[in-house]
Structure formats: structure tokens, C-alpha cells
């Protein structure tokens, strides 16, 4: 009897210890980025583009990468909504329940979700070669939108599936078409969840490096057209860290700090929005 209790206590201790290890790894990462990044922060970092010799330690900032990343993630999110939302609405409103196409599409999104971002980068690069595009904002947008499409669609699908069937039926009974039901009932009902899905996808898009390394290129200037190469924050961090100069490496830490802050803001915003909008939901 005693032995059983001791074993249980031992494992419970181990479980709590591993939970603490996992949580402290999060705090450790955030702490390191803050401690190393904060001192290297200054106003020039977020208000200036790189000046000559920036990567040798001369002055300037990473405004090009901040703006580039925001452009890129916004464009990609927009494109992914344009493809993902109709697909998810089709799966949940138009298609027959349990049809082969529905099962297959859900399955293929699940599988796509697991495809590494470098593969999306290479695939995006092939699409670009096919259309004769060079490394550009547009190329990056295409690759990143493919990357976030399954992430966004799966998250949207999960909430839209939860919309009560009675609500759809009530809408049909009033004479609404499927399209009207989809846009005016389903989307409105699932709006907070859709917004969260969009924010998650945006966060993933702004933080991903491997998919843009082939496709978006890099530039010290803020892109003024879709066909210009665009700098991105993750790549800016990577390149700055790769230089042998401590001043530039400090800037990499500051850039990582900026990126982390952006991600934190997005994740907190999605939480607040979800809470705010769920008040009006019909359960």
C-alpha cells in the first residue's frame, strides 16, 4: 500500500517538475530576448532604414524590415483569407455533410499543416520561376500565404463547425440562400473565431523566415511596389547575427526584441478580441 503511494508521489513530483521546466523555458527565452534586446534598442532602430555600412556597425535602423514584414504578412494574410474563407464556408455550408471531398480537403489541410516552411519557400520559388518573377514582395506574399493557408483554414474550420445547425436551418426557413446564410449568419456567428484564426496566421506569417529566404529577397529600402524585393524582420535578425561585429549583433538582439513584442501584441490582442466578441454569440 505504502509503495503505491510513494510511486504516485514520485511521479507527481516529476510531472510538476517537467511542467515547470517547460514553462521556465518560455520565460527563459522571453527573458533573454528582453534582457539582451532592450539595451540595444533606440529610436533609430525603428524609425530609420539602414544607412551605408549598417552591417559594419554604422548607423541606421531596421525600418525597412519592419515595414517589409508588415506588408508581407498583411498581403499574405489577405490572400489566405480570400482562398481559405470560401473553402471553409464551402466545407461547412455548401458541401454535403461527410462527403468525400470534405473529408479529403480536411485531411489535406491537416497534412499541409505539417509541411515545413522551407518547402513552401522552395515551392513558392518554383511558382515564381514559372511566372518569370524575381525575388520580390509578391513572391514572398505567395509563399507565405501558402504557408499560413492551412493554419488559418483549420482554425476557421474548427469554429465554423461549432455554429449550431439550427441557426442555418432557421436562416433557410426564412428563404435565405446558402450564400446569404454563409455570409450573414455563419460568418457573423463565428466572427471572433475567424478573427483569432486570422491573427494567428498573421503572427505565423510575420515570424517565418525559411519561406521568404528564397522568395522575398532582401533590400535596404522600403518596397514601393509588389515587384520589389522586401526585407523581413526574421531575415534581418539572421543576417545581423551572422556578422562578426558585436554592434551589429546587438542590433540583431534588438530586432529579435521587436519581433517578439509584435508577436506578443498579436497574441494578446487575439485573446482580448475573442473575449470581447464572444459576449454576443448565440450558444
Amino acid at each position: 500500500m505504502d509503495k503505491r503511494k510513494i510511486e504516485e508521489g514520485l511521479f507527481k513530483g516529476l510531472m510538476i517538475a517537467s511542467t515547470i521546466v517547460i514553462l521556465s523555458s518560455l520565460l527563459f527565452i522571453l527573458g533573454t530576448v528582453i534582457v539582451k534586446g532592450m539595451p540595444a534598442m533606440n529610436l533609430a532602430m525603428i524609425t530609420q532604414t539602414p544607412k551605408g555600412g549598417f552591417y559594419l556597425g554604422k548607423e541606421g535602423g531596421i525600418l525597412n524590415a519592419i515595414i517589409g514584414s508588415i506588408y508581407l504578412a498583411t498581403g499574405a494574410t489577405f490572400l489566405a483569407i480570400l482562398i481559405g474563407l470560401p473553402v471553409v464556408l464551402y466545407l461547412n455550408v455548401y458541401a454535403k455533410k461527410g462527403s468525400r471531398l470534405v473529408t479529403f480537403t480536411r485531411f489535406s489541410f491537416d497534412v499541409l499543416w505539417g509541411v515545413p516552411s522551407i518547402v513552401y519557400g522552395a515551392f513558392g520559388f518554383m511558382i515564381m520561376l514559372f511566372f518569370g518573377l524575381r525575388a520580390s514582395l509578391l513572391g514572398g506574399i505567395i509563399a507565405v500565404s501558402l504557408l499560413i493557408l492551412p493554419i488559418m483554414s483549420r482554425a476557421m474550420d474548427e469554429v465554423i463547425r461549432m455554429v449550431p445547425k439550427e441557426l442555418l436551418e432557421a436562416s433557410y426557413a426564412l428563404g435565405a440562400t446558402k450564400l446569404e446564410t454563409a455570409l450573414k449568419v455563419v460568418v457573423r456567428q463565428a466572427f471572433p473565431g475567424i478573427l483569432t484564426a486570422v491573427l494567428i496566421a498573421f503572427g505565423r506569417g510575420i515570424g517565418d523566415a525559411a519561406s521568404v529566404i528564397f522568395t522575398a529577397g532582401f533590400s535596404d529600402f522600403i518596397p514601393y511596389s509588389l515587384f520589389r524585393p522586401a526585407a523581413t524582420l526574421p531575415l534581418a535578425i539572421f543576417f545581423q547575427l551572422g556578422t562578426p561585429f558585436p554592434e551589429v549583433q546587438d542590433r540583431a538582439y534588438a530586432s529579435a526584441f521587436i519581433l517578439t513584442i509584435i508577436i506578443l501584441i498579436i497574441s494578446i490582442a487575439s485573446r482580448i478580441l475573442t473575449r470581447k466578441f464572444t459576449r454576443h454569440r448565440v450558444k
Partner: protein
């Protein structure tokens, strides 16, 4: 008016159907596209030569993937060995023991861990793990290491896959009916005995699926690995050796790949290889998870 509405509905339906079909074909397009691009190299080299040769000299058109594949396997292996016990213990704690409010507090934090960009993991690895290995771990074992090593990659990757494994395991534990637990408890088993003999046994396929999902994520992760493993094209022989995993190889050479003949073909073949391995794992996992889901409904 009426006809216009119906027409709109019909057209929208067709458009949505088209998008649905297209997007479910993306996987196939990827495989076919990458295969097309890697045909030139497959035409002159045999697959076994490519996979087993250790000499990587693009200028002499020698493309041996072996060191890179081994690099990937080593790094992924270390990551999974670190992640399995920590994740499973945490998942069991969160699903079986933790009070509700603790669980509600911890889950968003784990989600946050999943949201941190891989380049930030890489920066953290360079700042913390690499010096730790160089200054403490390697000297402790009486050897030298630059710190940029399999172990560094493994530790960083382990943390990156924590959220996936925990998340999926929690879902699996939740799918196990309460009646089974109660039956075991009513026979006089302690809570831990119930977990050990009933819950975990029942959840085994799902737990394995969770681990494989984490494994395949680790296998394809690029940026963090590129930053902390040292990128030396030699088959590692210990966890303190540097490695050059496959995704890092692809990411690192994108610049010069179009200027050397067959280089792009070789890199895209590496990509195809990566994709096929990950697809295989993911398909198996999804089939297992779907069966669990059906079973519980």
C-alpha cells in the same frame, strides 16, 4: 430579383467548390513540381548514390546527401529524446492532476511558446545554449566543442516541439471516456495506477501520433537549426559534433544555386525528400488521430 439572388448563390457555390478542389490539390502540386525540378539530377545519378554518398562538392557535381540526412536524424533524435518525457509528464499532469485554474493558466502560455518565431529560438540558442555547451557541458565531458552542435540543435528543437506534443496529447487524454477511469478507481486502483495501466495504455496510439507529429516538425524545422548546429558537412559522431541538417543545407545555399549547373536540381531534390518524409509521417498520424476521433464519438 429572385433569380439574381439564386444566380449569385450558384456562382458563389461553384467558385467555392473550385477553390476547395484547388487547395486540396496543393500537396500534389508540390510533390509533382519538386519532382519535375529534380529530374535533371535523378537522370544522371542513381538515388542510392545520392542518398549514401558522403561527398558534397557542387562544383564537381558531386551531391551526396548522407551527411545531411544523418545530421537531420541526429538533431531530430536528440530533440525527441529530450521532449518525450517532459511533454508526456506535463500532459498527464495537466489533464489528470492539475486543478482547473492551473490548466487554464498554463495552456495559453504553451500556445505562446508555439507562437514564438523560429528565428527568435535561434537567437536564444546562440545566446544561451551554444555558450552553455562550449563552456560547461563539453569541458565537463573532457572534450572540446564550439557549442554549435547537434546537442544545441536538439535542445532548441525540443522546446519548439513541446507545444505540439503537449497539445495533441491533451486532446488524446481528453478523448478517453471517464467511465474507464472510474471502473479502474472503483476496483481499488490508485489514481496513478489508473493512469499508468488504463489511461496511458488506452491513449498509446494517440501519444505515439503526438510524438511523431513533433518529430516531423523537428525534422523540417529550418531557421533555428541553421543558426545553432554549426553547418559542417560531416556526419556527426557525437552530440557535441557540429551537424548540417537537410533544411539548413537548402536554406543556406539558395543564393548560389542557380549559378552552378544541377545545383538547384540537387537542392530541390533534397526538398522533395524532406517533403516526402514529412508527408509520410503526417499521413500516418492523421489516420491514427481520425480513428481515435471516430472511436470517441
Amino acid at each position: 430579383m429572385m433569380r439574381k439572388r439564386l444566380l449569385k448563390d450558384k456562382l458563389a457555390g461553384k467558385y467555392m467548390l473550385l477553390l476547395t478542389i484547388l487547395s486540396s490539390l496543393i500537396v500534389f502540386l508540390m510533390v509533382i513540381g519538386l519532382y519535375q525540378r529534380s529530374r535533371p539530377i535523378l537522370a544522371i545519378k542513381s538515388l542510392s548514390e545520392l542518398l549514401l554518398s558522403t561527398s558534397w562538392h557542387p562544383l564537381r557535381t558531386e551531391f551526396g546527401y548522407f551527411p545531411f540526412i544523418m545530421g537531420s536524424l541526429w538533431v531530430t533524435g536528440v530533440a525527441i529524446v529530450i521532449a518525450i518525457p517532459l511533454c508526456l509528464l506535463t500532459a498527464v499532469y495537466l489533464s489528470e492532476y492539475a486543478p482547473r485554474y492551473v490548466r487554464e493558466w498554463i495552456k495559453p502560455l504553451i500556445d505562446l511558446l508555439a507562437g514564438i518565431p523560429s528565428v527568435v529560438y535561434g537567437v536564444w540558442g546562440v545566446l544561451v545554449i551554444v555558450p552553455l555547451i562550449k563552456n560547461y557541458i563539453a569541458p565537463f565531458f573532457g572534450t572540446f566543442s564550439s557549442g554549435y552542435s547537434v546537442l544545441a540543435g536538439g535542445i532548441v528543437l525540443a522546446i519548439m516541439i513541446f507545444p505540439i506534443i503537449i497539445h495533441v496529447s491533451l486532446e488524446v487524454f481528453r478523448s478517453i471516456p471517464h467511465e474507464i477511469r472510474e471502473a479502474s478507481l472503483s476496483l481499488g486502483a490508485t489514481k496513478w495506477q489508473t493512469i499508468k495501466h488504463v489511461v496511458i495504455r488506452k491513449a498509446m496510439p494517440g501519444i505515439i501520433a503526438a510524438i511523431v507529429l513533433g518529430l516531423s516538425r523537428a525534422f523540417g524545422e529550418t531557421m533555428a537549426v541553421l543558426m545553432v548546429t554549426g553547418n559542417v558537412a560531416k556526419t556527426p559522431t557525437s552530440v557535441l559534433d557540429p551537424a548540417y541538417p537537410l533544411p539548413a543545407l537548402i536554406a543556406n545555399n539558395y543564393g548560389e544555386m542557380l549559378s552552378v549547373p544541377l545545383y538547384d536540381s540537387a537542392l530541390l531534390l533534397a526538398c522533395l525528400f524532406l517533403l516526402l518524409v514529412v508527408l509520410f509521417f503526417n499521413i500516418v498520424v492523421r489516420v491514427v488521430l481520425i480513428r481515435i476521433e471516430r472511436y470517441t464519438q
